[in-house]
């Protein structure tokens, strides 16, 4: 009899549901994609009015990659700051953040929520290659812009079937080219050992590096890979040490970056020039190894490090610190990820300003037609440029060397576009 009561409850619920269906359907609401008039006739104006603009972002606030989730705080702080200044071209920004826990199915669900329920104007940033790859087909079909995704894979720029998606940060190939140029200029006969993460990120960077040094005196003499799930890279480091290469290209994520630096410091027999990729270059990686052990390590960057006293009087960094203090008091202004969020949000601001039509199509075209756009948080000499056949906003980086207790920039910003030509598939 317990069962029949449950059945009765189910029947009642069903009846209620059917009645509700008969009364009204929620489906119809979705087809109200609004269209613009005038010169922008027929273009979509979902999520944008004369007074507001609604953006949505999907970040890993929980899960294994939750350290990156703080980027959303930098972004949100920027938009709050801009709203206090009167908004973007008079439009107040509403920024909706959802958590995908770095899981692609969750990213799909949350992206659909943003598009269909929240009715955002654009999905501003999905974070991570898997999450972005899981939703770009969907967003392309729905014709929703997906500007400035937070991942450095080169596929966002080389692909030509997804006009609605574009990256932002210098892609891994561009970074590899910066190191290649440095070695070709400074150590034309270098023998390079490479430690890399066995995934798209590691392979993108390694492949770009090999291509960039092809035909020069710089040779890759040893390569070792590791899995994200490996406990340590000490075995790989031992075998690279036997190659007696004079340069170590360290393509790792933070945890393994620390391990590789420590292993390199411990190995007194082998003292190569240690090039650490940008992903693992934060102070949090270097500190546990001991600053005295990482002197002279080389890396590259493209935006201002908020912890660097060199930028203490920089107006943009000051604004950033004040705004973060006011609008995201629990976020640490010295954290590079917050600065990254700030920089990418202000880049989007510039792109929104450049829209010819205040429509989704307008934004899609604007991010693909940037001409040397300066953004305050980026290093001097680093600007955003895109155009037909070039879907990489940032391709310039500057080298830095670790000295004392912080990174010091050296040389000139390297525009890899100029040096190596456009990046293609």
């Amino acid at each position: 009899m317990r069962k029949t009561t449950a059945l009765r409850a189910a029947a009642a619920a069903t009846a209620a549901l059917l009645t509700a269906t008969a009364c009204s359907s929620q489906r119809g609401q979705n087809d109200q994609s609004t269209a613009a008039g005038g010169a922008c006739k027929g273009q979509q104006t979902t999520g944008i009015t004369d007074k507001t603009i609604k953006l949505g972002g999907v970040y890993p606030l929980s899960g294994p990659a939750s350290a990156y989730g703080t980027i959303s705080k930098g972004v949100a702080a920027y938009f709050k700051y801009v709203n206090a200044q009167g908004g973007i071209d008079g439009r107040k920004v509403e920024f909706v953040v959802r958590d995908d826990g770095y899981q692609p199915p969750k990213a799909v669900e949350e992206t659909r929520r943003l598009v269909e329920q929240e009715k955002v104007f654009a999905v501003f940033q999905t974070l991570g290659t898997p999450s972005t790859a899981a939703v770009w087909d969907y967003l392309g079909r729905q014709k929703v812009p997906q500007p400035f995704v937070a991942t450095g894979a080169s596929v966002w720029g080389t692909d030509d079937r997804h006009p609605w998606t574009i990256g932002w940060q210098p892609n891994y190939v561009a970074e590899a080219r910066v190191y290649a140029k440095y070695l070709k200029d400074e150590r034309p006969k270098a023998k390079v050992a490479v430690l890399y993460q066995n995934d798209d990120f590691g392979k993108d960077l390694l492949g770009g590096f090999k291509k960039a040094v092809a035909g020069s005196g710089v040779k890759v003499v040893a390569e070792e890979s590791y899995e994200v799930t490996d406990p340590s890279v000490s075995a790989q480091m031992a075998s690279l040490s036997r190659s007696k290469a004079d340069v170590l290209l360290d393509v790792t994520t933070p945890k393994f970056g620390s391990q590789a630096l420590a292993a390199d410091a411990k190995d007194t027999e082998w003292n190569p020039l240690h090039i650490l990729n940008n992903v693992a270059s934060s102070a949090a990686v270097l500190q546990p190894v001991g600053f005295k052990n990482v002197q002279g390590v080389v890396s590259a960057t493209y935006f201002k490090d908020p912890a660097d006293p060199q930028w203490a009087d920089d107006p943009e960094v000051k604004t950033y610190r004040d705004a973060l203090h006011r609008y995201a008091p629990d976020a640490d202004p010295a954290n590079q990820f917050n600065a990254y969020g700030w920089a990418v949000a202000s880049s989007l601001h510039k792109a929104l300003d450049a829209m010819k039509c205040p429509t989704r199509e307008g934004l899609r075209d604007a991010v693909r037609n940037l001409k040397d756009v300066k953004v305050g948080m980026l290093l001097p000499g680093v600007t955003m440029s895109t155009g037909p056949g070039d879907a990489f906003p940032l391709e310039t980086m500057q080298l830095m060397r670790f000295k004392g207790e912080r990174w010091q920039l050296f040389g000139k910003p390297v525009d890899t576009r100029e040096e190596f030509g456009p990046l293609t598939k």
Binding site: M1, T14, P104, D200, T229
Partner: protein
């Protein structure tokens, strides 16, 4: 009163009511995609898909009394089978389903072998190792699986004649498969195999004495269970259109197990409730607290397990039981002051008809219902 309930509970009436409820549930299931927004239809699709995996896990954990922390891996195997077939051989979506099911059945058969010798936590560890080791393996086999970038495949497209939107078509496809699978699970449990499984769970030695072949049924339980997980994985590929090793970390296995326990072990509709919990509660907890959705999710699981130790499926029964007890107590209290006016009558005997009448409806259930919310007995040395 008891005669009325007896009449209501008679076989024919019950069957009629069951048919009616089934009809209504079917109508609701079919009507839902025309009512809800596409995004909500997508969520419902995911609930159905997880329910298939949970139904499989339920066979093993709830009815078989074994424990598996590796069902995320079978799920992944099914998903990758479908994705690789679609990506490399461009077979239709429908063709991937039997292959994924058969492949995972065989895989489960293989994994059922340790289940013969190990039990309880030891078996859990072996299956966990499978879940931990599969994602790195998928990354290594890059030529087939696309490595850590994963594979993007075509989603299920609605044919032109149907006139349905993409989300509706996917929903109906998944609904059809889910209905078949859940029916299969139900029938399986009512067959010889199911009875044998229950017997093995409740007392291995007794079951063996009765002529149940332990090795066969334990292995088969694993295989069936893996097959269901594989089918769910295949549906996942249809719906999401993207697989990557990181989608199937061992957290998925644990989420599935948590979903099943929350939904209700050894219950036929527990998997549906568990799937809804797994699907909706993380989003809800994110709305509650943006800073720490994980904490809210964890607290909710604790709250559910505290309020309903037998899972959500067992909750109505427990509530009714509690109400009946309260009614008994109330009845006892009511009659006690009246006792002096009826001298000689024992208050206790007066109170008896009350609770008896209330309790009667619950009695047949104890006989005919499957052990709703029976705790898994994994260790009984």
């Amino acid at each position: 009163m008891s005669t009325i309930t007896a009449a209501l509970g008679s076989d024919r009436a019950r069957r009629l009511r069951a048919a009616l409820t089934g009809l209504l549930a079917a109508a609701a299931a079919v009507g839902a995609p025309f009512y809800f927004a596409p995004f909500q239809v997508f969520q419902l699709t995911m609930v159905l898909l997880y329910a298939v995996a949970l139904a499989g896990l339920n066979l093993l954990v709830g009815f078989g009394g074994q424990i598996s922390l590796g069902h995320g891996a079978f799920f992944a195997a099914g998903a990758y089978t479908a994705a690789v077939m679609l990506d490399r051989y461009d077979t239709g979506h429908l063709a991937t389903l039997p292959v994924a099911a058969a492949g995972c059945f065989v895989l489960g058969l293989g994994f059922g072998v340790p289940a013969l010798r190990l039990r309880g936590l030891y078996l859990a560890l072996v299956t966990l190792s499978f879940a931990v080791f599969l994602p790195p393996l998928l990354k290594r086999l890059q030529s087939v699986t696309g490595g850590s970038m994963g594979l993007t495949v075509d989603k299920l497209e609605p044919p032109a004649w149907s006139g349905l939107a993409e989300d509706q078509w996917m929903y109906f496809a998944v609904l059809a498969v889910t209905a078949v699978v859940l029916l299969l699970a139900r029938n399986l449990l009512r067959s010889r195999v199911g009875r044998a499984l229950l017997a093995v769970r409740d007392n291995e030695s007794a079951a063996e004495v009765m002529g149940v072949r332990l090795s066969l049924h334990k292995t088969l339980a694993f295989a069936w269970s893996a097959m269901f997980a594989g089918v769910a994985g295949c549906l996942y590929t249809w719906v999401i259109g993207f697989v990557s090793p990181d989608s199937f970390s061992f957290v998925l296995s644990i989420t599935l197990l948590a979903g099943l326990v929350v939904g209700g072990l050894a219950s036929l509709y527990g998997p549906l409730l568990g799937a809804a919990f797994v699907m909706y509660v993380p989003s809800v907890s994110q709305d509650v607290s943006e800073a720490a959705p994980g904490v809210v999710f964890g607290l909710l699981i604790i709250a559910v397990m505290f309020a309903a130790p037998t899972g959500l499926a067992g909750l109505p029964g427990r509530v009714r039981g509690a109400l009946a007890r309260r009614a008994t107590r109330a009845a006892t209290l009511d009659r006690t002051p009246g006792a002096p006016s009826a001298p000689g009558a024992n208050p206790k005997s007066l109170a008896e008809p009350g609770p008896a009448a209330v309790l009667t409806p619950a009695e047949p259930a104890a006989v005919d219902a499957d052990p709703v919310g029976a705790p898994p007995r994994t260790e009984k040395e």
